[in-house]
């Protein structure tokens, strides 16, 4: 196949993370170097708002997911797209500020940069989708994010990505257009990939909800992001 460059660069990006995952010494050094702070209080807030995330097998969890999805307010595809767009704007800005902070160097830094640029592609895709449906894309909100140490930032990124994944999941059942649904799903699983990757970095669960991811409805997500709106 053509253009081997993309394929070549990917493994290098992930290399350091893999080492952090596999090598306890490396990971401890990374966390130490990063400073002890631990996850931001935001994480605790989100967990409280979402209820406990116990790992439950099979149908009970799916049932819970279903109920929560169905209870989310259905306000039309354009509104849902603009809601997603708002979250993506914030994620994009968050990563841009993290990159600018220089807290992450080398290959973890490249990974963070890569995630940030993917959030930027989500912004563009969602803006395009809103316009295509005859809507007006939501304005870019001004965000404010606590950026103090690598550990704190990685923890916050983990929380934000998990929230993003559950926000998309929470809207799946409300979307009317199959095209919009396919787009949302294509983004949803990428947010999940980000969350899992960050989980390996901060040594937290890759699957905090267990075998069945839980959705979050719009009001919960909007409450959770409030502290990050300037």
């Amino acid at each position: 196949m053509s253009s081997p460059t993309s394929e070549d660069s990917a493994p290098q990006t992930a290399g350091i993370v893999e080492r952090l995952v596999r090598d306890d010494v490396d990971r401890k050094r990374f966390l130490k170097m990063a400073g002890g702070a631990g996850a931001a209080s935001f994480g605790a807030f989100v967990l409280a708002a979402c209820g406990s995330s116990t790992k439950t097998a099979s149908t009970a969890a799916v049932q819970a997911a279903t109920t929560s999805t169905a209870s989310a307010s259905a306000t039309g595809d354009v509104a849902i797209l603009n809601y997603a767009l708002t979250l993506e704007y914030l994620e994009r800005e968050f990563y841009a500020k993290v990159v600018a902070s220089g807290l992450f160097k080398g290959q973890v830094g490249s990974l963070i940069k890569e995630f940030g640029s993917q959030e930027a592609t989500h912004v563009e895709a969602l803006k395009g989708a809103v316009s295509k449906m005859g809507g007006t894309p939501a304005a870019n909100p001004n965000g404010k994010f606590p950026i103090t140490s690598a550990t704190q930032v990685a923890g916050l990124a983990y929380t934000v990505e998990n929230l993003g994944a559950s926000a998309y999941l929470g809207q799946a059942g409300n979307i009317q257009s199959p095209e919009v649904l396919a787009t949302a799903l294509a983004i949803h699983s990428v947010e999940a990939r980000h969350a899992s990757t960050l989980g390996t970095l901060v040594k937290k669960s890759l699957t905090p909800d267990g075998a069945f991811a839980k959705p979050a409805d719009m009001s919960m997500v909007l409450a959770a992001i409030k502290p990050f709106l300037a």
């Binding site: 799946a172 999940a192 075998a211 991811a213 959705p215």
Partner: protein
């Protein structure tokens, strides 16, 4: 233009029966998803998603039970892969703990989908016999990457055809877990956790079948 290129990249990658050759060819074989990804990752905007969206929508619906039974087959495969093959091989380190955790979750998916099919009045398909071409930790992980990433694409491809909101919610809840598994396995292999860039590529049932058929013993 960009749309055209994306489609070509995805199609070309899909033409190869990767799974049959994983053992032989090692890690590079599973890069099929990367190929489709390059186009998407490089291009901004809706144009990047459109080809994949139309691919997802090309799925011909045989109803929710049929979609669920297809998903059940994939989950049987993943469950056996981790819970049977994973134990056979004698994995070490992170591979071992991932296989144990992921295996449990895939078994939960099997159980949940089986129950859902029954609740819809359908009949869950029987578990096929699988032939899993992995005999070492590295070939196991390479195959895990293919299975998990294919799983993500399979769910994302089928989801827009699902009629019931409940079934859609369940599928969404499961695909998110497959994506988390896929990213973690890819990281272990020093591969990108987001091999398709910003947008995961959906696959049709036929495309998924082409990939998994070599592992299903009649």
């Amino acid at each position: 233009m960009s749309t055209h290129i994306s489609t070509d990249a995805a199609q070309t990658g899909l033409a190869n029966p990767e799974l049959a050759n994983v053992e032989v060819s090692g890690l590079t074989r599973s890069s099929f998803i990367l190929r489709g990804a390059m186009a998407a990752g490089a291009v901004y905007g809706l144009g990047a998603v459109t080809p994949f969206v139309s691919q997802a929508l090309a799925e011909t619906g045989g109803g929710d039970v049929e979609i669920l039974n297809f998903a059940l087959t994939l989950e049987y495969l993943e469950s056996d892969f981790y819970n049977v093959k994973g134990k056979e091989i004698g994995l070490k380190g992170a591979a071992k703990s991932y296989a144990s955790m992921f295996g449990e979750q895939e078994a939960d998916h099997v159980e949940a989908i089986t129950t859902t099919i029954k609740s819809l009045g359908g009949e869950p398909v029987a578990k096929p016999t699988f032939v899993i071409p992995a005999s070492s930790q590295s070939s196991f992980l390479a195959l895990a990457s293919v299975l998990e990433n294919t799983g993500v694409s399979a769910y994302n491809g089928a989801a827009p055809s699902i009629q019931s909101k409940q079934v859609l919610a369940a599928a969404g809840s499961i695909v998110q877990i497959e994506a988390r598994h896929a990213a973690a396995i890819n990281l272990l292999l020093s591969k990108s956790p987001t091999p398709s860039g910003g947008f995961d590529v959906p696959l049709t049932k036929a495309q998924v079948l082409t990939k998994v058929k070599p592992l299903i013993k009649a």
